[in-house]
C-alpha cells in the first residue's frame, strides 16, 4: 500500500462521512434494530429492521412514546431507569428486555444504548441498537431443561427386592450427578424402608479418584441413614485402578457382579430377618 492510495482512501472516507445518504442507507440496510428517542421517550427514528420485527411502520410510531406501546408492563421499570441513566450522560449501557410486536408476540432484544449529546454536551437523543435474541434464549432454556431431564433419567433408583434398592450407574459421575443421586437414593431408602442399597458401577467406564470419592461419600451417607451399601460391577480393570489409586474401600461391601451383590443382599436379609441391617455410623 503506497501512501498515495492510503491518502485517497482517507479522502474517500471523509467524503462518505459528509454524504447525507450514508446514514439513512446504513440504517435501512443493517439487520440490527436501531431506534432513536428524544428525551421524553418519543420515537424519532425507527429503522426497517424495527419495522420488520414489530410490524409497526416508522410513520405510524414517530412521536409515540416507546413504553406506551412497545414495552410489556412488567419490564417497564428497568427500561425507565436506563433512560434516566442515558439522559444523565451515563452511557454506553446494555439491557436485555422484551418488545411487544403489533400482533402481541414478545420478542427478547439485547440492546446496546447510548446518548447523543448536543454541542454543549447535553444529551438530546437516546440511541438503542438491538439484536433479536428470542430464539437463542429459547434454545438455551431448552438445553438447560434437557440437561436436567438427562440427569433425571441417568440416575434411576429401582426397588428390586423387598428391602433392596438398586442404582445402576451409567456414564461418569460428577458433583452435580452425585448430589442428585444421593438425594434420590437416600429418599428411596427411607420411603421403601430398604436396609440394603446396591450401587452397580458396571456401566461406569472409568473410576478415577474423583469418582471414587463421590462413591465413598454416597456410601457414607447411606450408612448414616442406617442402611448398607454393596458396590457391584467391580470389574478387574476397575479393581486394578482402585488399588493403584490407593482408594480405601475397606468396610465397603464390594462384588464383581450384580448377581453376586443380589445374592449377598438376600443372604443378609435372610440371616438377620428383614428388620435389621445395621451399619456403622460413618
Amino acid at each position: 500500500m503506497g501512501s498515495r492510495s492510503t491518502k485517497s482512501a482517507r479522502d474517500a472516507r471523509v467524503r462518505l462521512d459528509a454524504h447525507t445518504a450514508f446514514l439513512p442507507t446504513l440504517l435501512d440496510t443493517v439487520d440490527a434494530l436501531v431506534a432513536v428517542l428524544d428525551r421524553e421517550g418519543r420515537i424519532v427514528r425507527f429503522n426497517p429492521a424495527c419495522e420488520r420485527l414489530t410490524g409497526w411502520r416508522e410513520d405510524e410510531v414517530l412521536g409515540r412514546v416507546l413504553w406506551e406501546f412497545l414495552l410489556p408492563p412488567d419490564e417497564m421499570a428497568p427500561v425507565l431507569a436506563l433512560i434516566r441513566d442515558l439522559s444523565a450522560g451515563r452511557f454506553p449501557a446494555r439491557l436485555e428486555n422484551d418488545w411487544i410486536t403489533r400482533d402481541g408476540q414478545r420478542r427478547r432484544i439485547a440492546f446496546n444504548c447510548s446518548g447523543i449529546p448536543d454541542d454543549h454536551g447535553e444529551v438530546q437523543f437516546l440511541l438503542g441498537c438491538g439484536i433479536d435474541v428470542t430464539e437463542r434464549r429459547r434454545s438455551e432454556a431448552a438445553l438447560v431443561a434437557q440437561r436436567d431431564e438427562l440427569l433425571e433419567v441417568s440416575t434411576p433408583v429401582v426397588r428390586v427386592w423387598e428391602g433392596v434398592v438398586l442404582v445402576p450407574l451409567i456414564g461418569t459421575l460428577d458433583g452435580r450427578r452425585t448430589e442428585r443421586l444421593m438425594d434420590r437414593l437416600l429418599n428411596a431408602i427411607v420411603e421403601t424402608r430398604s436396609p440394603i442399597a446396591i450401587l452397580d458401577i458396571t456401566g461406569v467406564p472409568v473410576v478415577d479418584t474423583e469418582t471414587a470419592r463421590y462413591l465413598v461419600e454416597t456410601i457414607r451417607a447411606v450408612r448414616l441413614l442406617g442402611a448398607r451399601t454393596v458396590l457391584s460391577g467391580v470389574r478387574p480393570a476397575i479393581a486394578q485402578t482402585l488399588v493403584h489409586l490407593g482408594i480405601d474401600l475397606s468396610g465397603v461391601e464390594t462384588r464383581a457382579s450384580l448377581v453376586d451383590a443380589l445374592r449377598w443382599a438376600q443372604g443378609v436379609l435372610g440371616n438377620a430377618g428383614p428388620s435389621t441391617g445395621p451399619g456403622r455410623g460413618g
Binding site: 438425594d183 461419600e217 442402611a227 460413618g282
Partner: protein, 123 residues
C-alpha cells in the same frame, strides 16, 4: 431448663431418646448427662437408641457429643444405635465430614430395638 427438652425413657432394657427438631448446645450437653445417669441406675441397659427422625439440622458439636456418648455407653457395656436419620441430614453430615464414632445406624426405632434384642447381641 434446657434439659427438660430431652427425655430418656427406659423401655425393655433399652434407653430411648427422641431428639427435638433443632437441638441447641445445652440440649445436646444435657443428652449426654441424662443418658449416662440412666445407664448407671439399677441393672445396666442393653444400650441406647437415639431417634433422630425429627431432627433437621445436625452440627459438629452434636455429632461429637453423640460419638463421645456412644463411646461412654460402650465402656459401660451398652450399644448405641442411631435411628431414622433424614436424608437431608445425612447428606449434610457427609458433606461436613461429621463422624458418629462407633454408633450403629438403622432406618427406624423398630429396627433399633430388634438389633439390641437380637440373640447373640453383645452384652
Amino acid at each position: 431448663m434446657e434439659s427438660d427438652r430431652i427425655s430418656v425413657i427406659r423401655v425393655k432394657e433399652v434407653l430411648l431418646v427422641t431428639m427435638p427438631a433443632d437441638p441447641d448446645d445445652p440440649t445436646v450437653s444435657a443428652l449426654q448427662e441424662r443418658v449416662l445417669e440412666a445407664m448407671s441406675g439399677g441393672s445396666t441397659p442393653l444400650g441406647l437408641v437415639l431417634d433422630l427422625s425429627a431432627v433437621d439440622t445436625l452440627d459438629s458439636f452434636f455429632a461429637r457429643t453423640v460419638a463421645e456418648t456412644a463411646q461412654m455407653v460402650g465402656l459401660m457395656g451398652g450399644r448405641t444405635v442411631i435411628a431414622g436419620m433424614r436424608p437431608s441430614v445425612a447428606i449434610t453430615a457427609t458433606q461436613l465430614g461429621l463422624r458418629l464414632g462407633n454408633a450403629e445406624t438403622v432406618l427406624d426405632v423398630d429396627r433399633a430395638l430388634d438389633l439390641l434384642h437380637e440373640p447373640g447381641a453383645t452384652r
